[in-house]
Symmetry: D2
């Protein structure tokens, strides 16, 4: 059995693990992400790698982080949340640790984890959608991760859903992310709690959970209220799921995948998200529902997907 | 030098050619497509193949036709214009000719032709959009044709552009094809000629070309009027190009291709189509125009793309 | 008690009645509408008027017909279904009958009937929406019919609901009429029956009613199926009602009416239309549902509204 | 000659004047608006009224302020920017000044000013759109201000333009105000300056005016840049004008007005706003441009419209 290290660089935590050939994490560590300080973050990545490498005989290191990664899997060209620009992360971490390093987009890493050891082990073509603060995506086609001509394919959250629609953080309007992200969910929940007529049902339960302050409502509160049966919260999640299903309808025409896997924090809503998303997908299938098309599944590896996927991709 | 036969089965003509390893067509033949008669069409495919094989030493035959082709490249599962359902075309043609046969979707064949020997020879990742009666698509990623889990990927004309938008022949609403096809172009031209205020400029020139009958306006008439400088016709093509550019903006996020290639009858408008499409693409790029993204090109092989691509794909 | 005659000129029937001051019809007659023959239609209007005037002492005649009527209530400037252009209907009928005549738009006449003697007797500000082949409208503000600077106000079916939306017979795209008319209902029903995935539920019941022919499905069949409990038919009517409710939300901001009255053939669906329309209205109220806003009611005079309203308006 | 006082209660200034029967302001005064303090604002209204009444023999006082005013023209039911709820403004100001008082919505007052003494003196039916922080509206039909069943008609900025469109301050999505207000203009300008690809042209000039800080760009800066010929600023104003024209197209079908009058801060752009708005209106006319429809004009009274209109309405 050989081992590799996977590092998942998030906005608040850097989580790392030693992963075996079967996708099992045999050791773990984590640190807080130093705030917006490039040298600090690189230092933390080096530190977790050294810590794990001290006790395990590892061959390679895979680092997953948000942003545009170059086609050579070595540089972070642009990282929206980390203030990085054109950082030679592979060489920096490699020089400091003496190990071979590969850098991957975090959604790509998570998709690979689910594809190899999680929800999509049985298919060759898979589309991952991570529904968290934003909507991330990754695409595995015929068993291979699709990275694109410039290494930045699979930004599925930026397909346009609505012409002249809601503003997206990317500078455009109407993207999937502007409708189907946790950010959109929270924005709608707060609007409902402040009296918007657009969402049916009473905001009482959501306001209870938020101590009476509409602006304090969070995504997990919406999920909890929905799981408790609150009609407004269920409506909010179903509306998000409807947009996700519409997007998946287009992805069926585009990719003809074997499976969709839905991850990210909003996926904690489970069937409350999955069922309306599946129904919306059914209603957005070109050629009707008589043709074969992808199943929709929840991710199964949770937060480990990024570590496992980064570690496994580093072997390839 | 080895040779293969490519057959392009269209709604009105079956065109075939003997193609060498460099994509040159060294012999050709064609027949009218027998109308909606499955046995007749299969017979015609066999006939053109035999005719060409009589004079050339060919190894394989590639047949391209519209519709859903199975992942084994052997059966036509569904052909919208030919009334075919689950036809074992590979075996039927193979048995009758004694040659190995491969069946491909026609847009896939054309894309492969342009990728190997035409407008996209220099890239590894390419998206083809054929703008004719409908909007077809095909995707080549990292040098390989993407066929999907069920063999029916790349139906790019059925990505949804407008929620609750215009009816599409596929049974849904708001597809790219409902806005950016030649059919949509002609529909808008006829509406303008009948007094719709929605399109600026006088319909005089278009009505002249159509002998005064709005319902007689055709796509080539719109192209001709636009090339003559008619403002209404140019507006109509630019509006179509705007939708195409918006769609390509989403495809950049999804695929990160090296190049878009635009073919089909509407591409005869040349720069009048290409320039506004490129401008619309620029305005729909997530992350701004500072990142690398695909160029847009016109197809260069014209009607030969399907023959050349089918013949070459059959070798693989 | 004084009497006036109301004439309702429809596409297939010309219906007329003698109406008293309280809105009661004390005598009636009707004829088939001569097909697209202006002189014949004028002759038929004259004939029904003479017939009724022979037995009753009437003061004035009100004629309601579809189309743009001039501000002087005397000329039909444009009638989409009757091939009329700038017809001096008031003078023609007046000269032939020796009675004073007033011409009104048919939706205006129906609205006035409902306002004075029907569903909206209790309010001063009312908006009528007639949902039939098209979507007609009429507006009564502070007790007066609003006719506009050119006599053609109240074309509520041509407010735009969806940018670049479905084609409308008026030459534009995305009008209320393109989504919430009986024509749109039937189009969707036929698409569902032909396998469109966009509408949930089985088309079996609708196809039964139409003898197995999707193209033979009519509006009354959808209403009947919905009343029998068919899920697809109910969905189709609820979808139409959703568009109607969204439109009414805008009309609340624009007019602040006391009541909406819904008439026309599709209103035969009764509560199956009214309830989802009301719910959609609630979700489209600016400023939330804590402010006062209009109730939604079904028309109560049925086909008599046009006769009663035209007769009563002629007195003013 | 008799005189009345008009008071225009704005978010930052309370401006008042003595107005004669011909709409001339013969004396003026103004104060800062006490911040969000109801008693303070009422006190300031009383103070400016007393000051003006001391030197002029006035009959009545008209007070215009933003918000929902009751049908009796006496109470402010809801004022979004002033934190007022159900305030008996007529009685409070009347008791303190000994003068008869009438309360009006501020857009209604401005519309009345333009209708009686400004841009729309020559028509009977007029629609005002004030394009400032929000989009206000007012409607004069057949020479009378339309107030609606609950006194809150004419909220034209809350007609829905885009289903599931951009968030509006009113709690809904896709309202005219979310696209055609000064707030939307500034938001788009800032997005362009931060690198959004959605708007063509360089943000250099706008950034210059804002001292290099995208977040410091204001509406007047956009107007100034546009008047200097800056392509991006002109595009931004033309895009806003396009939405305004689309909205006016719907208002033509709804109201058939004789004229549109455009006021508010964004109207300072003059022809740069008016021309593309007019063109967009032409392209959104149901029935084509062969029918008569409203002209579009800039307001001519500027900030005085509210004072003049409130004073004149108080006489009625």
């Amino acid at each position: 059995m050989t081992y590799s290290i996977g590092v998942d660089v998030g906005g608040t935590k850097i989580a790392a693990g030693v992963v075996d050939e079967k996708g099992a994490i045999v050791a773990r560590t984590r640190r807080d992400t130093p705030s917006r300080d490039v040298a600090g973050i690189v230092g933390a990545i080096v530190a977790v790698t050294r810590e794990l490498a001290a006790d395990h005989d590892v061959d390679v290191v895979g680092v997953g982080c948000a942003g545009f990664i170059d086609a050579g899997r070595s540089r972070v060209m642009f990282a929206p949340n980390l203030a990085w620009r054109d950082l030679p992360l592979r060489d920096d971490v490699g020089a400091a640790t003496g190990l071979p390093v590969v850098v991957e987009n975090d959604a790509n890493a998570a998709a690979w984890g689910e594809f190899r050891f999680g929800a999509a082990e049985d298919v060759d073509d898979m589309v991952l959608l991570t529904v968290g603060t934003g909507v991330g995506g990754a695409v595995i086609l015929d068993g291979e991760l699709h990275r694109g001509a410039n290494g930045i394919a699979g930004e599925l959250g930026h397909m346009r859903l609505v012409p002249d629609g809601q503003y997206c953080g990317c500078g455009l309007r109407g993207c999937v992310e502007a409708y189907a992200s946790g950010t959109a969910l929270v924005r709608n929940a707060r609007a409902a709690a402040q009296g918007s007529a657009a969402f049916p049902g009473s905001p009482e339960r959501l306001l209870d959970l938020a101590g009476g302050d509409a602006q304090a409502i969070t995504g997990p509160m919406v999920t909890q209220a929905a799981q408790d049966g609150d009609p407004l919260a269920r409506h909010l999640i179903a509306e998000l799921a409807g947009w996700l299903g519409a997007a998946m309808g287009s992805f069926v025409s585009i990719f003809d995948p074997g499976a969709f896997v839905i991850g990210g924090g909003v996926a904690d809503a489970g069937e409350l998200l999955l069922e309306p998303a599946q129904e919306a997908l059914w209603r957005n299938i070109t050629g009707g529902t008589h043709r074969p098309f992808a199943t929709v599944r929840l991710a199964t590896l949770g937060n480990d997907a990024g570590i496992v996927g980064a570690a496994d991709l580093a072997r390839i």
